[in-house]
């Protein structure tokens, strides 16, 4: 029987929620949480579960990888699974980073699953197999099933088809492959050319991935003459959350007046707090300047390094927020800033 090892975060590894997202990496010689589901479905035994907090990987990626590779050095395994990470960005990042390292170090197939909105997809789809997954853990069974079906094909030495047919995100790796009908390349190329000449639709066999970058804005010559705004995706709001910004998957943003403030007072002083559901709020609630550094900006304003801190800061929540919504909110905020003469922005994210 083949052997498999599964990587889970603190939540799916049943350690706890955001308050233990700093959990250090550990390996257990048993099946924890979702690892049991893999064991049921897979043509292999799950021998170990690796668990690590998402924030631990986020803040100490090299160390996390080093320690996890260390755990695995004396283990025998034929395949490695990470996740599913759904729409959780930090978990996706962790699955990708750990999965990539495991694949490079041990040469075993690594399979993960993430929602298409998870930034981990673009970061790591070239490195490991990532299947498109659901938005939340409600899709656990479906997502694991997809990963396992493909894993079983690999374990049973079945013929693997291109990404589109197997269903994982394209890795951009090219294989030599003979079409079932054996139409040679020159005929296909001439067919495409004819279609192009006739203005008909055709599908290139060499798609060029599009990278959506923006032109780098010109630097500011003299900060002391301009107004700078603070924007955050860290969910800092007045304690009554007047704009009712959602704690996750936000579609709303708010702007909050700070012209008369030297710093952001905290939750206990009934001023500002975070409503972000994606990280432990304790540190931000105690001192919101840790997320929106109004105090430091005021100091630079006093020293004359910057002309003025803009009278509002802008806030929304960046967890589970779709790229489409984030882009729309970004456009709305940018438009206001532009109209009000703000010339530079510091955006803090959590």
């Amino acid at each position: 029987m083949s052997k498999a090892i599964v990587y889970l975060n603190q939540f799916f590894g049943q350690i706890g929620g955001e308050d233990v997202a700093d959990h250090e990496p550990e390996i257990r010689d048993e099946k924890v949480g979702a690892a049991m589901l893999y064991d049921q479905l897979l043509d292999a035994d799950v021998t170990h579960t690796i668990i690590c907090g998402d924030n631990f990987v986020g803040s100490n990626e090299e160390e996390a990888i080093e320690r996890i590779i260390g755990f695995l050095e004396d283990k025998e395994f034929d395949i490695f699974f990470a996740g599913p990470a759904f729409q959780a960005g930090r978990y996706g990042n962790a699955c990708g980073a750990i999965g990539k390292a495991v694949k490079e170090e041990f040469g075993v197939p690594v399979i993960s699953s993430m929602n298409e909105e998870n930034p981990g997809v673009d970061m790591y789809k070239k490195d490991i197999y990532i299947f498109p997954g659901g938005q939340s853990a409600a899709k656990m069974r479906d997502d694991v099933q997809k990963m396992v079906d493909f894993g079983n094909k690999i374990l049973n030495d079945e013929k693997l088809l291109p990404a589109e047919e197997e269903g994982y995100f394209k890795r951009g790796i090219r294989h030599q492959y003979f079409l079932p009908d054996e139409t040679p390349a020159y005929e296909r190329a001439i067919d495409m050319l004819l279609k192009k000449i006739n203005d008909e639709e055709f599908e290139s066999e060499l798609p060029i991935p599009e990278l959506d970058t923006v032109e780098i804005a010109d630097p500011i010559k003299d900060l002391s003459e301009i107004t700078i705004a603070l924007v955050t995706s860290g969910g800092i709001v007045p304690i009554d959350n007047p704009d009712r910004i959602q704690s996750a998957s936000a579609t709303r943003w708010g702007k909050y007046y700070i012209d008369d403030l030297d710093e952001l007072k905290n939750r206990r002083q009934e001023a500002f707090k975070t409503i972000h559901a994606g990280y432990d709020p304790a540190a931000a609630d105690t001192d919101p300047n840790r997320v929106v550094p109004v105090d430091a900006m005021r100091q630079y304003e006093k020293e004359g390094k910057i002309g003025k801190l803009y009278k509002y800061f802008y806030s929304t929540v960046g967890t589970g927020t779709t790229q489409g919504e984030a882009a729309r909110m970004g456009q709305e905020i940018a438009k206001e800033l532009q109209e009000d003469g703000v010339q530079a922005v510091i955006l803090t994210s959590t």
Partner: protein, 79 residues
């Protein structure tokens, strides 16, 4: 968000812990923060240390806004 702001021609610097994510979403100027739940001040250190760190890193971000860059750039921090 960072991209949409930059698209209007306003230079923006992103302060983030997950720099690889910031790169993937298309930030051009980036300054690392120390963690996800407390980007600019570790509650287990003294007030003074937290202030020093925050003042320093915000300063690096401000300087980043005045720096001419040719490609996506992560600016170095000392504290």
């Amino acid at each position: 968000m960072v991209k949409e702001i930059e698209r209007t021609g306003i230079p923006v610097v992103q302060m983030a812990n997950l720099i690889p994510v910031a790169k993937t979403v298309g930030a051009n100027r980036m300054v690392p923060t120390i963690s996800i739940p407390y980007p600019l001040g570790d509650p287990s250190t003294s007030e003074e240390e937290q202030w020093k760190l925050r003042y320093h890193r915000v300063g690096v971000a401000l300087d980043a806004l005045t720096t001419d860059i040719e490609e996506q750039t992560v600016f170095n921090v000392e504290i």
